[in-house]
Symmetry: C2
Subunit: 233 residues, 2 copies
DNA sequence: TGACATTTTAAGTAGCTACATATTACCGTT
DNA sequence: AACGGTAATATGTAGCTACTTAAAATGTCA
């Protein structure tokens, strides 16, 4: 049985992380050069490079050619959010998923929608309103605009059967995605749709996607009162 | 002038990404093995490995030893959020930062707070309420609990001068951070503090941090009506 | 002293080899 | 057909070398 004396780059990463956590290096402090750390830990520079890359990715350190590596002077809390397909989200929570198409209509994009896509000239779009259900109770209301120039095939999809959410995610990968979170008060229509009271505070998630610069879809999803969005890790 | 015919791993990554975006490979489909892609693109397997690692990180593909690489069958929207120190956030938006300590008191953690930390036995904590200002107007209200066992030094910090937010981020790195987003209606107190109307929908961000399993702090931040949280890019 | 060019440095990238490890695939036995 | 052990295989990790590149440090000259 050979005991591996090789170091994984994750070990090296954690070693450096701990050095920082311990207070040995504070915000703005410069760390030794990769080669020296490699020397000290008796591993290759490439291993340290990989470890440092990761620490840089999570925002803990800042690396610059010639400048060396230093602990990030303005630490940020960096979090990763996973937003799944709504059907999967409901089913993962143990609910039975349901879906209702409220309306669908071809029309020209409003100024608000154009703004979300950073466009100025008018574009023809498919506007969709739909309600996602969990165990026959309202779960999420979605107000979606799909760009017909970019995704003409959406016209051939029966949105009474399959949700635009799922069809798009499965068939139209994106290269850019902007997210926006804020709170709104339920108006008359929302409260009816979601079974909430008028004035209830609701979390709104707005998402816009592009493929190579061309707009795909922008959607506002509103969830029932009390809904919480959590980080993945 | 020598033109570099070397491929950057990012180029390889984007190449593969485009193959997926183009529809050549759909959700669940298996991609060629790294070695073959390397062959085809005339680069080293390690370059493909790096590219694939990245695609795996963003959740686009799934990789398994021997199983090969396949396009993620349940695509998720993966977003990265950066939450900066509040002072930096205000200053970046061009506001003049201000800060008021509302109250600070040593007390035992409530059940809610213990639950946030996944604890059961009582812990003594420092409870802090503070208001962050932008150009002398309310910007963010924070309701914080700091674990005195883990961070006894907080007692020596003059929280009337320096915000706990900033002191903690700069002096107490964490190894785990949970985030939670939801919407609430402004009550009497919140509306007074934030200059909002009672019932206004507000975005609440809850954040709890640990260091090697020991709780550091949990904080609820409430921002003024209309506040939006955006993804970094 | 200040502006500008040159050198030096430390990280970034790429390629190669070698070996580790987790699964899948296969085959023989019962 | 069910089971179990073995081989095959694709990705993961580590180390090495070589070269590239951005930027800091230094030196030079007006």
């Amino acid at each position: 049985m050979k005991i591996t004396n090789r170091l994984s780059w994750k070990y090296v990463r954690d070693e450096i992380h701990h050095e920082i956590l311990s207070g040995r290096y504070g915000p703005g402090d410069r760390l030794p050069r990769d080669a020296d750390i490699a020397d000290q830990l008796n591993c290759a520079r490439s291993t340290v490079q990989r470890a440092m890359q990761d620490l840089s990715d999570i925002g803990l350190v800042e690396r610059r050619r010639k400048g060396g590596t230093r602990v990030h002077p303005e630490p940020v809390t960096r979090a990763t959010l996973d937003i799944p397909i709504t059907r999967h989200e409901v089913e993962k929570k143990g609910g039975r998923y349901g879906y209702q198409l409220i309306m669908q209509e071809e029309m020209s994009a409003t100024r608000t929608v154009l703004a979300a896509f950073e466009l100025t000239s008018p574009v023809s779009m498919l506007r969709i309103e739909a309600l996602h259900l969990s165990d026959n109770r309202p779960y999420m209301l979605e107000d979606r605009w799909v760009c017909l120039d970019t995704v003409p095939e959406i016209r051939d999809v029966d949105l009474k059967i399959q949700s635009a959410n799922e069809w798009l995610v499965l068939n139209r990968p994106y290269s850019r995605c902007d997210l926006r979170f804020y709170a709104i008060s339920a108006d008359q229509k929302m409260s009816e749709m979601l079974g909430a009271k008028i004035g209830d505070a609701l979390l709104l998630i707005e998402r816009s996607t592009w493929i190579d610069g061309a707009p795909i879809t922008t959607v506002k999803t509103i969830t029932t009162p009390g809904y919480q969005l959590l980080t993945s890790s």
